[in-house]
Symmetry: C2
Subunit: 396 residues, 2 copies
């Protein structure tokens, strides 16, 4: 039979990245397309010890239904750690454990926005957030990233001109896909503009702990004095992405509403892994572990950047990243980046075309995204070599 | 600051059951309010063995991002088992692993219904489904359960009279909260009516394997020849509820749409526990384990029913259940069941008031729900004793 889908979900297509992954069955293909943490970053032995301890000492809690808001000791540690590292959390704030950071984005949009409302986004931005917004029937209105950040003047103009703008979605630190960090002054301006036009801000910070050079920039949430900022993050990039444990830190009134929606979405997040995360935060040197991941990614990013440098700055431009997982690249004078990405794929290097991350998917790509956390060093060298050769031959 | 919430979620309140649980900190209070499996039903040692094996042999898969649709070997086993036990699955059907059965309900509604559409439900029915529908801005229209089932004549009348009816939500086996099973003839009629009025059916079957007496009745999904029935179930009641692993079996076209929505909801379900479930299905006597749970619940249900019998059938009426987790009870001539539930709570027995499960929450309670899987035998005896004494004193 022919099925009729809801107006919100009818136009949704499987994301381009998912389709790319399905093509990755050929082992000779090199992928810079992932957004995955390096498997070397998983503290596997500690996971074994902690799961075994919990199933020995506390199985009847871990395997039973839990509280929707999350395992209380973990919620407390999450608040403590984020207060300590990022200066986050007013007296009115609380933490809810979510099924990955993605659920935080999805439920925040569900709770704050009506179908037809607009979410103002950096353009390009994280496809998972864009599609979450689209699945609620929201309009995604982009403010272009230029020189590594959005321009506050353009942001204000866009907000002022956009009907029913409700939410400002930002990844201020090591942005996906550009890898760039929003300067302090721009962050302050984002908050000022949000206050002026009564927008809520969704600050997405999955990569915030992965800085391997440069100085931290204060989170927008740390400047928030009234609960205007909903802050999402997760353990995906520092412990394990497959376990799906993330969190939202926000004003208690919003948290209550998110919890009601989470209750009807998945009741609660896998409880044993919430307890494992709590052990990682209290019985393990998590800071030392994060430091080792930073060192790993610093090396990988440096390697990829020094390889890219051999292509020559007259041919390729890329973001010098200080952390996170991504580098954004574009070719000088290239009129068809999508064609170039296709040519790369024919030469067995897969990257994500920039169009994927555009608020308006009809706008052509201005570049492509490279990931350095997942490929091996050999693959990074070989992959950039393929890129170099493809550029030489490419006329587009 | 004062926050403004979306029209869909603004009216939502934390569920009454959640509030009841928060009051359960006093250890002298006996609870028949849960919907939890018995902790005795968790195969704890096997969980320890399987998690340890996976983290030893396959950690880099288990801790990494996975495919949204779920761990392929588990999806295959789920299809196989449901085909074998419940005769479910046409050639066009596929399985998607969800974060508990709840996510299957939530995403099915999201994919099939627009705000303002109606979901036709048994009345009373599962509060988690009702609130999921409400959170999408859907209207819940009830068909009263009488004599253990809805009346097909009344169902057809309701469907015909309801504008924009899109979905028929049913828990045909060991219904929550009534514990009753819908007869075969009524199931056939539900499917016929759905076909006639072009409704989709969401068949929710979390308790289907927990039959301890009587004969199985065919699932509606097993009668479906065109993909009209979306079937939700989970491992929550046979392995562990805290791990949050469930599934949807439905037509591939719907599955594709659900997967797109799941991708932006939580990317995928906790991967290690998907792999654990796969091991339970292939390296463990799951049928023998389910048989032991049935025996456990048969004893607990028998005990509760024989205790209830001492109250006297002239005072209390209750459903003789053949499986699942619940008994539905009501007092003869009682005009205020909510008052009675309050009187019980004052005497330190907590049950769930019937109103909680009503499609129209302004309709008064016609009874209350009792759970026998969670309390100990002593608590069952003591709790029903409290009920007996409370009835004697109660004038409402």
């Amino acid at each position: 039979m022919k099925f009729s889908f809801s107006d919100n979900t009818e136009p949704l297509k499987p994301s381009a990245i998912r389709e790319i992954f399905k093509s990755l069955t050929d082992p000779s293909v090199i992928s810079f397309a992932a957004g995955n943490p390096s498997p070397q970053s998983f503290p596997v032995e500690q996971f074994r010890t902690f799961t075994d301890e919990i199933l020995s000492d506390n199985a009847s809690v871990a395997l039973q239904y839990g509280i929707t808001e999350g395992y209380t000791p973990l919620r407390n540690e999450v608040l403590k750690r984020n207060k300590c590292i990022f200066g986050i959390g007013g007296e009115y704030d609380t933490a809810i454990i979510t099924t990955g950071g993605q659920q935080g984005i999805d439920l925040t949009a569900k709770v704050l926005c009506n179908r037809g409302d607009a979410v103002i986004c950096e353009d390009p931005t994280f496809i998972g957030a864009l599609n979450a917004f689209r699945a609620h029937g929201l309009r995604t209105v982009g403010v272009p990233i230029k020189g590594g950040s959005i321009d506050p003047f353009e942001l204000e103009k866009t907000v002022a001109e956009t009907k029913n703008a409700k939410l400002l979605y930002l990844i201020p630190t090591f942005q996906n896909p550009t890898g760039k960090t929003m300067p302090y002054e721009v962050r302050k301006e984002c908050l000022r503009i949000a206050e002026k036009y009564d927008l809520m801000i969704l600050e997405d910070n999955p990569y915030g702990e992965l800085r391997f050079s440069g100085a931290d920039v204060p989170t927008i949430k740390s400047m928030d004095t009234e609960g205007r900022v909903v802050y999402c993050s997760s353990f995906s990039k520092i412990l394990s992405s497959g376990m799906r444990v993330g969190y939202v830190i926000c004003h208690g009134d919003i948290a209550t509403k998110i919890a009601v929606c989470k209750q009807v979405n998945d009741v609660h997040t896998n409880l044993l892994f919430q307890m494992v995360c709590h052990k990682f935060m209290t019985e393990f040197d998590l800071d030392g572990h994060v430091e080792r991941i930073r060192e790993l990614y610093r090396k990988k990013a440096s390697l990829m950047m020094s390889c890219l440098d051999t292509i020559g700055e007259e041919r390729i431009e890329y973001t010098k990243t200080d952390g996170g997982l991504f580098i954004w690249a574009s070719l000088y004078g290239c009129k068809d980046h999508d064609g170039f990405v296709k040519a790369l794929a024919e030469n067995k290097l897969v990257v994500v075309p920039g169009k994927t991350f555009n608020c308006d998917t009809n706008r052509p790509s201005t570049g492509f995204r490279l990931n350095y956390s997942t490929p091996t060093d050999e693959q990074i060298i070989k992959g950039v070599e393929i890129m170099k050769n493809t550029i030489t031959d490419y006329r587009g």
